[in-house]
Symmetry: C2
Subunit: 207 residues, 2 copies
């Protein structure tokens, strides 16, 4: 028998398995990954830099869904808006990974490079250095909050006879379908208008 063409364990298979576990249950453990791959837990650790290393592999995997060409667009606000849309779509594909990735420090080199590019876009557009990270993080809060919302049921409010909510019923009926996308458009428009105003120094940075 020759060597199997697909090695039992490699970083890609470990990443894919961790992502499957997260998609199913919201979390993963190294022993669970080993079990799925028919390997020893120690063998998994041999390929990755601990559990944290797997989180960074996941981060690279999910982030690779963001179209890198968006940040090359001009002018800067077209770039930022397109990046935000692509960012939301990439994370909406794995909503249950969002809490884990949002609460673990970013170490993945390719992801750090993407932040470097985003900072460069805003610096080149003339933003104050001190305001750039708050701006990027505010956009991420909106993008990732909205990506989580895409995993919610379309009928998110189930009204009951126990309490009268006639205005909520009207507002829900009036919004129609696609409430998550419409809300994201409102939030993104708000953000982009504010970013343009900040750049032109028409408003205080705030906070």
């Amino acid at each position: 028998m020759g060597r199997p063409r697909t090695p039992l364990l490699d970083r890609e298979r470990i990443t894919t398995t961790a992502l499957q576990l997260i998609d199913e249950s919201g979390d993963f453990s190294v022993p669970q990954i080993a079990r799925r791959l028919g390997a020893q837990t120690g063998s998994v650790y041999h390929h990755v830099d601990g559990r944290d290393g797997i989180v960074e592999l996941l981060r690279e995997h999910v982030t690779s869904g963001i179209d890198p060409a968006t940040l090359d667009l001009t002018p800067w606000d077209t770039a930022v808006e397109a990046w935000a849309r692509s960012y939301r779509a990439a994370f909406a594909a794995h909503p249950r990974a969002i809490p884990l990735l949002m609460t673990s420090p970013v170490r993945a080199p390719r992801v750090l490079e993407q932040y470097e590019r985003a900072v460069n876009v805003l610096l080149a557009a003339g933003f104050d250095c001190a305001g750039i990270m708050p701006l990027i993080i505010a956009l991420e809060n909106l993008v990732l909050g909205s990506a989580l919302d895409l995993a919610a049921p379309e009928t998110m409010w189930e009204l009951t006879d126990q309490v009268p909510t006639p205005r909520l019923a009207e507002a829900l009926a009036a919004v129609g379908e696609g409430r998550a996308d419409r809300a994201f458009e409102v939030g993104l428009t708000a953000f982009m208008n504010h970013a343009r105003a900040l750049r032109e120094k028409r408003v205080d940075v705030g906070g």
Copy 2:
């Protein structure tokens, strides 16, 4: 021996135990709750309307941390801004409950009542009925994204020698402490300015 003053099982203890499990692991199961309370799984089901019922008890519990007086403030924008801050603080106390609550339909009567009140504030302020839910959901995306971010480490970006990220390093150094709060202020300012402009019909609803 008299009757114990605290019954082994009641809805409050079930809720508290479910929340402990979520704070620890990001999820809960009914058998886990039963085990912690030294009860049979069937006995837990006797007190609540299934797993979904427990989720709604959790939603009422977390949402009860939002100061209801905020929505009585005047004018409307003071009310909405104060509500958003209190909403963020309440959910930041249980960040690991956010994905679960964001992706399950809202059925809890007291929470539906709170949405009714929020819709009333915006209707009374003169907003178009069809635009109110997108506005509220956009605010929730920001608030809940930011509440998750409060659970992140203060040093969220760990730069490496593997890739040069000089601009990111500068931007991070310039932002100083409290990046999550500063980002929330940027996002909230953007949202409130946009909401005021929408009310005055100075901008399109978008989306």
